[in-house]
Amino acid sequence: MNIIVCVKAVPGSTEVKMDPATNTIVRDGGASVINPFDAAALEVALRLKDDAVRQGLPCRVAVLSMGIPTTAELLRDCIARGADDALLLSDRDFAGADTLATTYALACGVRRLGGADLVLCGKLAVDGDTAQIGPELAGALDAPCIAGVTEVLEVASGRVCARREVDGGAAVAEAPLPAVLTVSKDAAQLRMASIAGVMAAEGARIEVLSARQAGADPARIGRAGSPTQVVRSFVPKADASGIPIEGSVDEQADAVAALLKEMGI
């Protein structure tokens, strides 16, 4: 079985503070990390590999990312934790991609890796919060999609069976391989790297491909291939029209209790 896990480098801290003097954002740099949802997806893949190995079956796990050159080190860390191969799509022409252009690039990467029985993505990336890459990638690969997977129950006889989130609850879903799964963060906790893994990863080759090397159509990647554009961005304006309820905690509680009564609650 071949598994591809798509991972994204996200800022280590999503905490952003406002500078009240200039009303601008102060981003606390911090090193990039693997999107936590993708980390869970990688662990799901590694457990499937452990199962396969136990049964004496061949299984390879590849990690795939589109990002800046330093993302290669995050992929190396994935290898230290048990992934077998890594492919990084890195090119200035990939920059500025929205989900559609990103999906296209990742689909090129999946093909370069020779396809897979299972493609796993994090359900969403903590910096973008769109949750679109997985389902779009399934469409691009013409594969069935199971989104919001909390547990992979079984992969056997050409089918995958998984517990997933659905509106108002959870359900068991089954799909034929090859399939795309998006993985919820609490599905699994990514294992620690072992010393042996770290050593092996040091010598491992992280394949880095430009857009052209990946066989991508320049019109479909980066900004050129992105239908959506940010027109403007802004910090929501502070609104001081709220009514202050002052006094001691006692008095404040009295006032709010009266208020609630007034509202009929």
Binding site: A31, V33, D77, A193, S194, I195, A196, G197
Partner: protein, 538 residues
């Protein structure tokens, strides 16, 4: 007197500390400045001249050093200002703080470059600008309890996992201000006032000269926080650090900062037996030049972790130790860059193989997320053992956890481990062992199942105190002696030397009011106080 309050029920918590023992006091105050503190000492001299005085910081100590023994309590938690910064000739930074500054806050301010510098003089501000412009600086002493305050850490000469590399608190303090029981103040800068041939002369700011004849007490050649650190040519600063609040009240400290290492990796290594873990540690200590810490968790402690993992709750997210592991050694490696640390990791891997362990079974933490997971893993051990004991205490309130804090010289590591194992085995007790194996400093914890086991455990500890002292070790390597480990101090030094220490105390605190009950029992203090009175009034 303004600020001195009767010790009413409102202040009940200030009768206790983390040792879970309880004392009593008549009055308490929370001074915010040395000035206010000295005024309150003056008031006490007029109104309660013989009252004992207990100094408290964050009350995180495990030896009851901050538990009051009657009289007055000075709680210094509100003396928590950052006072200034100095740059020395070598470019090193020295941060001046009040004793109530909490370690976790200090770390946060250093990391986020947000040290509260209101009212600092221009020289300090310039030094701060230089500090912020350069590499990140840190204070290396790292006790497990990060809510400890710096004054308390100095008073017990605190240490932590990284003391393997950086030593305890003592060498990282470059200056102190101390208020004596008499209300006089000492300003001590490292290097400015040293003993000569066993004679140390302190001069108070009020101009009084106090000559001290230092008794000949050899310090153990291992980590030690028991008793005064006395040496023939010692620095006056070192006398007060680790004195358990018995010589004076620390009102200011100057902390020597260091450049923070850029890459810090943690490696959790698992072994099939304690013997192979010991082989590894003994071989790795001289070989790994970049190691900051060697920490140990024994098989019984791992079993406790395995147990709570299955119970669900917050511990279920702990990484799962390999099933066959009967010992774990956590090694922390640091370097200026990742490449350096990687080289060291290769060496570690070879050492593991030589000790019969597998690199596949050793976890490496290189990211914040992983480092935090390993920190939780290690800290879960004492937490889970405490929970286990608390459960047993519900049915049997008279038992308690017995935890040792003894260290020995490096060449005795195997011997002391054998001592512990033989003792536990013969007594048929349940135990869990963890701690700072790099410093040959293990916390042996006895988990008594009934009162008889509790009594047997206490006997065992008394026996170990003698045996460890005979090895040239220390009975209290990091927690201090406080009130709980006085008997061990006797075992370690013998009655005469302890008496000599008490006499030294009485030279600075003639009525023996400060930190009463710490290090010395009260009968001994009364005797030496009487000697002092007699000596001064012939």
């Amino acid at each position: 007197m303004q600020g001195v309050k009767p010790m009413t029920e409102e202040f009940a918590e200030y009768r206790r500390d983390e040792s879970r023992t309880c004392g009593a006091a008549d009055t308490i105050s929370f001074p915010v400045s040395e000035h206010e503190l000295r005024a309150q000492i003056g008031w006490l001299a007029d109104h309660a001249p013989s009252a004992s005085i207990t100094v408290q910081g964050a009350r995180t100590g495990l030896a009851a050093g901050a538990v009051p023994c009657g009289g007055h309590v000075f709680n210094l938690s509100r003396m928590n200002a950052y006072l200034g910064l100095r740059r020395d000739r070598d470019g090193g930074y020295h941060l001046r703080v009040q004793p109530g500054v909490v370690l976790s806050e200090l770390r946060r301010h250093l990391r986020s470059r947000s040290i509260p510098a209101v009212n600092w003089d221009p020289a300090s501000r310039a030094a701060l600008d230089a500090l912020y412009a350069g590499c990140e600086q840190f204070f290396p002493t790292d006790p497990t309890e990060t809510s400890a305050c710096l004054g308390g850490m100095a008073a017990c000469n605190a240490s932590g996992a990284r003391s393997y590399r950086y030593g305890p608190m003592r060498p990282h303090v470059s200056a102190l201000r101390v208020v004596l029981a008499t209300g006089e103040a000492l300003s001590l800068r490292r290097g400015a006032c040293r003993a000569n041939g066993g004679r140390l002369v302190l001069v108070t700011e009020q101009g009084r000269s106090i000559p001290l004849e230092l008794p000949a007490i050899p310090s153990p050649s291992c980590k030690n926080a028991a008793g005064y650190a006395i040496a023939d040519d010692m620095d006056a600063v070192d006398l007060f650090i680790g004195s358990d609040g018995t010589l004076g009240i620390i009102t200011e400290l100057e902390l020597e900062l260091r450049e923070a290492p850029q890459a810090v990796w943690g490696a959790c290594c698992f072994f099939a037996s304690e013997e192979s873990a010991l082989d590894f540690v003994i071989a790795a200590r001289p070989a790994l030049k970049r190691a900051l810490a060697f920490e140990y968790i024994d098989g019984e402690a791992l079993d406790v972790l395995r147990g709570v993992r299955t119970e669900g709750g917050s511990f279920s997210s702990l990484p799962n130790a390999p099933r066959a592991a009967r010992a774990c050694v956590y090694v922390e490696l640091a370097g200026a860059a990742a490449g350096e640390v990687l080289e060291e990791l290769k060496l570690l891997s070879e050492l593991l193989r030589a000790a019969g362990a597998r690199g596949e079974d050793a976890w490496v933490a290189r990211t914040d997320v992983d480092r935090e997971r390993l920190r939780l893993f290690r800290h879960a051990v004492p937490e889970c053992v405490n929970t286990l004991i608390d459960r047993r205490r519900r049915d049997m309130p008279s038992i308690a956890k017995l935890g040792s804090d003894m260290a020995v010289p490096s060449e005795c590591l195997r011997d002391v481990m054998k001592l512990y194992r033989d003792g536990i085995g013969k007594a048929g007790l349940q135990s869990a062992v963890w701690g700072h194996i790099g410093d040959n400093h293990l916390h042996v914890n006895i988990l008594p199942r009934d009162e008889r086991e509790y009594a047997r455990g206490k006997e065992l500890f008394a026996h170990w105190a003698h045996a460890v002292s005979a090895m040239g070790g220390s009975v209290s390597a990091e927690h201090g002696v406080g009130k709980i480990k006085r008997d061990y101090l006797l075992a370690m030094y013998g009655g005469e030397r302890v008496r000599a220490m008490a006499r030294l105390k009485a030279r600075l605190d003639p009525m023996c009011r400060l930190g009463r009950g710490n290090l010395f029992d009260e009968a001994l203090l009364d005797e030496v106080a009487a000697e002092m009175q007699g000596g001064e009034r012939p």
